[in-house]
C-alpha cells in the first residue's frame, strides 16, 4: 500500500539554524500519528513542511504519491486541513461564518458560499455538538469552544488528512478530553491525523503510531506499543520517566509520569 504522506531524507534549517536532519516518515491512510518531543525540537516545523508552508531544502515530501510542491494552494486545502495552535481572530465574526470559511477550497475565486455550503457547515457543527455556538461571536466564546469551531472549519474542507498543532494546549481538563474524543471520532471516519503533543499520556488514548523527536531528528518511531517505553521517553525529554500499568474493568490502562527530583 502506498503511504498517504511520505517524508524522505527531509532536512530543514532556518537561516543557519538546522532544525530537522534527515527525517524519514511514512504515514498510511487512516492512521493517527503523534509527534512528541521537547520545546523547539522541530515538531511544528515538521508539520509546516508537510503542509508546504515552509519550503524544504533537502529531501522529498509526497502527499498521495505526488510531490507536495506540485499542489496548488486550493488543491492542497481539499486534501489536507491544518488546525493551528496560535490563533487570533481579528473580527468578531459569528462562529458559523468561521466554520463556513472551510468551504473556500470548493468555491470559485469570485464565489461566495451558497446556502448548501452554509447548511453543510451547520451540519458539521451539529455533528461536533457545537450547533448552539453558530450565532455566537467567535471572539466571545471560550478557548475550548474556539478549538472545536476550528476543527469544524477544517472538517468543512472535507480533507483526508488533518494536521493538529498541539490541539489540547491551553485547554482545561474536560475540554482536553472532549477534543481527544473528537479526534478519535475523526480517526474512526478514516481521516489521517498527524498531531504534535506535549502530553505523552494522550498517545495511548489516540495514537496508532508515535514519533519521538529529539533535537534534529527522531529518537524513536513506530507503533505505540513498541515505542512508548520508559527508555525512549526518558531519552526524548532528557529526564527519568516512569510508565505505570493498571487494570481497570479488565482493560490495561497505561500512563506515565516524570520523576521530579528534589
Amino acid at each position: 500500500m502506498q503511504p498517504i504522506v511520505s517524508v524522505s531524507n527531509l532536512s530543514f534549517a532556518y537561516q543557519n539554524k538546522q532544525v530537522l536532519r534527515n527525517i524519514n516518515l511514512d504515514i498510511y491512510e487512516g492512521e493517527t500519528v503523534c509527534l512528541l518531543g521537547p520545546n523547539g525540537c522541530g515538531k511544528t516545523t515538521l508539520l509546516n513542511c508537510i503542509h508546504n508552508t515552509l519550503h524544504i531544502q533537502e529531501g522529498k515530501i509526497l502527499i498521495c504519491g505526488r510531490d507536495v510542491n506540485t499542489y496548488s494552494v486550493t488543491e492542497l486545502a481539499r486534501l489536507m486541513g491544518y488546525v493551528f495552535q496560535e490563533h487570533t481572530a481579528p473580527f468578531p465574526y459569528t462562529s458559523l461564518e468561521v466554520v463556513r470559511m472551510g468551504r473556500t477550497p470548493h468555491l470559485g475565486f469570485f464565489q461566495s458560499p451558497s446556502k448548501q455550503d452554509t447548511e453543510f457547515a451547520y451540519s458539521i457543527m451539529e455533528e461536533l455538538g457545537i450547533a448552539h455556538l453558530a450565532t455566537k461571536r467567535y471572539t466571545n466564546i471560550s478557548g475550548g469552544e474556539r478549538q472545536l469551531v476550528l476543527i469544524a472549519r477544517t472538517l468543512c474542507q472535507e480533507p483526508k488528512i488533518i494536521l493538529f498543532d498541539e490541539p489540547t494546549s491551553h485547554l482545561d481538563y474536560k475540554n482536553q478530553a472532549l477534543v481527544l474524543h473528537i479526534l478519535k471520532k475523526l480517526s474512526q471516519r478514516g481521516i489521517t491525523i498527524i498531531m504534535t503533543s506535549h502530553f505523552p499520556n494522550h498517545v495511548w488514548n489516540l495514537g496508532d503510531k508515535v514519533a519521538m523527536m529529539g533535537y534534529g531528528g527522531f529518537v524513536a518511531m513506530g507503533n505505540v506499543e513498541e515505542v512508548m517505553t520508559e527508555e525512549n521517553l526518558s531519552r526524548t525529554y532528557g529526564i527519568d520517566v516512569h510508565i505505570y500499568e493498571v487494570v481497570k474493568n479488565g482493560k490495561i490502562e497505561r500512563f506515565c509520569t516524570p520523576e521530579i527530583g528534589l
Binding site: H51, T53, S72, V73, T74, L76, A77, R78, G81, Y82, F84, H87, T88, A89, P90, F91, P92, Y93, T94, L96, E97, V98, M101, G102, T104, P105, F109, F110, Q111, S112, P113, K115, T118, E119, Y122, A134, T135, R137, T139, N140, R153, Q157
Partner: protein
C-alpha cells in the same frame, strides 16, 4: 421542524428592509444634491430636466437654458463623481482594513496619495493643462504603489507587515519630494495653485472626462464586491487563509490593483480627500457588522451618501467654495473620535 430552525440561523444578519433603507437614503441625497446650490432649482424642474436628457422623454422646456446647463453639465457630473469617490475610498478602506487587519489603515497606506500629489504638483509647476495634470498625478500615484509593492517583496511573497512599512517609507519619500517642489515653486501663483489642488475639490470634473474617472473606479469596485467574502478568509491571517485554500498572493495583488486604481483616480480628479476611507468602514461595521459580505456593499452606499453630503456643505456653507479635503477632516475626525469611543477602540 429542524429545517426551519436552521433557516432562522442562516438568515442574513442584515434584512432586506434595511438594505432598501440604505439605498433610499443614498439616492435621495443624490437627488437633493441636484437641486441644492447657489441657484435653487425646484425638484420638479430637476426631474423634468433629467427625464428629458436621460430618458429622452418629449418634455417641453418651461425653464431657462442656463438651468438645464447647470443641472446636466455641472451638478449631475459633480454628484456622480462625489458618489463614486466617496464609495470608492470607503470600499478601499474597508478592503485594506480587512487585509491588514488593522483599524487604523486608510486607503492611502501604500503611498498612493503622496505619489499622486507629487505628480499633480509637477504638472502644475510645469503649467500643464488640467488633463495633463490629472494624467501625471494618476501615473505617479500608481508609481508610488508599485515602488511600495516591490520594496515589500521578499522571496516571492509580500508579507503584510512589509507592505505597511514599505508604504510608510515610500509615502515619506514622496512627501519630501512634494515639499521640495513647493519650496521651489513660484510663490505668486504656483504655490497657491498646488496648495488649493491638494485640498481637494469636486468642481474640476467636467462631463467629458467623467467617463475616465467612473470607468476604472466602477470596474475596481465591482471586483472588490466580487471578492468580498474572501476578505473574511484573508482577515484570519495569511497562513491560515492559505491553509483554507486561499491563494493570498493573488488576492493581495488583486485588491492592491483595485484600490490603487480607485484612489489614484480619485486623487487625480479631486485631490487628497482624507478620512472618508477611515470613518465610513467603522461606521458601517456598527451598522451591519464585521462580515465583509455585508460590509463592502454598505461602505459603497454610505460612502457615496457621506461624500455627497460633505460636498453639498462645501458648496453651500459660504460664497467661496470650501475645499472638500478640509471639511472631510473637520467633520470626519470628530465622527471618528465618537465611533472610537463608542466601540471602545475595539472591533467587537
Amino acid at each position: 421542524m429542524k429545517k426551519t430552525d436552521t433557516n432562522k440561523i442562516l438568515e442574513p444578519t442584515v434584512s432586506t428592509k434595511r438594505w432598501l433603507l440604505f439605498i433610499a437614503i443614498t439616492f435621495s441625497i443624490f437627488f437633493v444634491s441636484l437641486f441644492l446650490g447657489r441657484m435653487t432649482i425646484s425638484p420638479e424642474t430637476v426631474l423634468k430636466i433629467l427625464g428629458k436628457n436621460l430618458l429622452m422623454l418629449p418634455i417641453e422646456p418651461d425653464w431657462e437654458q442656463s438651468i438645464e446647463i447647470a443641472v446636466m453639465r455641472i451638478r449631475l457630473p459633480r454628484a456622480i463623481i462625489a458618489s463614486f469617490v466617496g464609495a470608492g475610498l470607503s470600499m478601499s478602506g474597508a478592503a485594506f482594513q480587512g487585509m491588514f487587519h488593522n483599524p487604523l489603515v486608510s486607503p492611502f497606506i501604500l503611498g498612493v496619495s503622496a505619489g499622486a500629489s507629487v505628480g499633480a504638483a509637477l504638472g502644475l509647476v510645469m503649467e500643464q493643462p488640467l488633463v495633463v495634470v490629472q494624467i501625471i498625478s494618476f501615473c505617479f500615484g500608481i508609481l508610488a504603489v508599485v515602488l511600495t509593492y516591490f520594496t515589500a517583496r521578499i522571496y516571492k511573497t509580500t508579507p503584510i507587515l512589509m507592505l505597511v512599512l514599505a508604504g510608510t517609507v515610500v509615502s515619506a519619500f514622496f512627501q519630501a519630494m512634494l515639499s521640495l517642489i513647493k519650496f521651489l515653486a513660484d510663490t505668486e501663483d504656483k504655490l497657491p495653485a498646488i496648495t488649493f489642488w491638494l485640498m481637494g475639490s469636486m468642481g474640476s470634473v467636467n462631463i467629458e472626462d467623467l467617463l475616465f474617472a467612473v470607468l476604472p473606479m466602477g470596474i475596481s469596485m465591482l471586483v472588490l464586491f466580487l471578492v468580498r467574502w474572501r476578505l473574511n478568509v484573508f482577515s484570519m491571517g495569511e497562513q491560515e487563509a492559505r491553509s483554507l485554500g486561499l491563494n493570498t498572493e493573488v488576492l493581495k495583488i488583486l485588491i492592491i490593483v483595485c484600490t490603487t486604481l480607485i484612489t489614484a483616480t480619485s486623487v487625480a480628479f479631486c485631490g487628497v480627500i482624507g478620512w472618508v476611507g477611515l470613518v465610513i468602514p467603522h461606521l458601517c461595521r456598527m451598522l451591519v457588522g464585521p462580515d465583509h459580505k455585508n460590509l463592502i456593499p454598505a461602505t459603497f452606499l454610505m460612502g457615496a451618501a457621506y461624500l455627497l453630503v460633505i460636498d453639498n456643505l462645501c458648496r453651500l456653507l459660504s460664497a467661496a467654495e470650501v475645499p472638500i479635503g478640509i471639511l472631510t477632516a473637520v467633520i470626519g475626525a470628530p465622527i471618528f473620535a465618537y465611533l472610537l469611543r463608542k466601540t471602545k477602540g475595539g472591533w467587537n
